[in-house]
């Protein structure tokens, strides 16, 4: 469902150039569940942003459901992103002046569903992450872990076929993190393809496959069997 071929990413910074991705080759099949790990600065978020069509590779190819997204316009990329992908950012990216419920609804505003269905889905997504009771709270009225879960609910509200989650449990205590991972496992068993970044080996074990990045390259790519 996702295929990345010889992707390089350079960030140009005045006189310096950061070679963040150095020839990445990865395929993820429909229904896959991949955990990505690696050192700080090794290229994980850069890779995730490309998978999520939020950025472009400097060179290489990216095929999403067989479509080469390299040649797409920004408008087409936004359409692909909204209809297929759910994304959890490392920094959550919640709108500070909107409630949890409104934040979760945001991706639905770009679809053709009506207001009643929109709210219903947002409430279901908040309930899925254990925050049904906090729908009217603003991000500043929520703990770090609660905000993170709102971000996850927002990523799931359009029932995407692919979830890209950059550190979805970093601010959660172990028990809440396990609860969230069990929700994701259930969704994966129903067909959701999941690619997540985590620094926690315990969290990675919920996945079916682990990819380890190092200095912009993939260093390991193994199936996980005892979960």
């Amino acid at each position: 469902i996702l295929r990345v071929e010889d992707v390089h990413k350079y960030y140009e910074l005045g006189e310096t150039r950061v070679h963040a991705l150095r020839g990445i080759n990865v395929s993820v099949e429909s229904g896959g569940f991949v955990a990505i790990m690696g050192a700080s600065g090794s290229g994980k978020s850069t890779f995730m942003n490309i998978l999520g069509c939020l950025d472009r590779p400097t060179s290489g190819r990216y095929l999403l459901e067989g479509i080469d997204v390299s040649g797409r316009t920004k408008h087409e990329l936004a359409g692909i992103r909204n209809s297929k992908l759910g994304f959890v950012f490392q920094g959550f990216n919640l709108l500070p002046r909107t409630t949890a419920l409104e934040n979760v609804q945001l991706p639905t505003l770009y679809t053709a569903i009506n207001a009643i269905e929109r709210q219903k889905r947002a409430r279901e997504a908040l309930a899925l992450v254990g925050l049904a009771e906090r729908s009217q709270h603003y991000p500043s009225q929520l703990s770090g872990g609660q905000q993170q879960r709102v971000a996850l609910a927002r990523a799931l509200v359009n029932h995407p076929s692919i979830l890209l989650a950059d550190e979805p449990t970093g601010n959660l205590d172990s028990r809440t993190a396990v609860e969230i991972m069990e929700v994701l496992q259930d969704l994966n068993e129903q067909g959701l393809t999941i690619v997540l970044v985590t620094h926690e080996p315990d969290i990675a074990q919920f996945a079916k496959r682990m990819i380890v990045f190092r200095d912009g390259k993939i260093r390991k790519d193994d199936a996980l069997h005892d979960r």
Copy 2:
């Protein structure tokens, strides 16, 4: 050095009221190293914000170096905060349009040191967290873990006597996290009092004492001996 007596914190939210802290009693001696753990929403950040004079308890007393800070003006609180405390926020709070070096210098702007000393200290603090080479980069040009380390450097730049760090390693890979914790252990052995929040038991083990929060109360408070 820090003493909290029967502190309660209520957040008023229209018709609801969140009882975030429910009678907290804690003392931390000079040179102490405390790790705070607990479930998402259990009151850790609320407690840290009170310790850091960023918020006030609804009731109870807070003595900081023998001074009852409850009765202080905002101006006096800001002065106490800037001269004694270093704070790492759960969400980093870096200024997006300023470089890493400028972000780290921010707390020094409120002191009487000159520009040369100011830059020297900021560079030393960045070197301490392994980011000497990235001083001219903006937060958007840094990975999540790199931003977190800039936030830690900023907390240390004024050589505070107390460091309050809310999840200082949540976005770091294990190896970088251990390096950071060793830096903090060294600083603690030189006299820095440290209170840190973490969800990672491995990180907590670097401390000398662990406090566990649950539903706004302290449930455990034990010295740690095998570190």
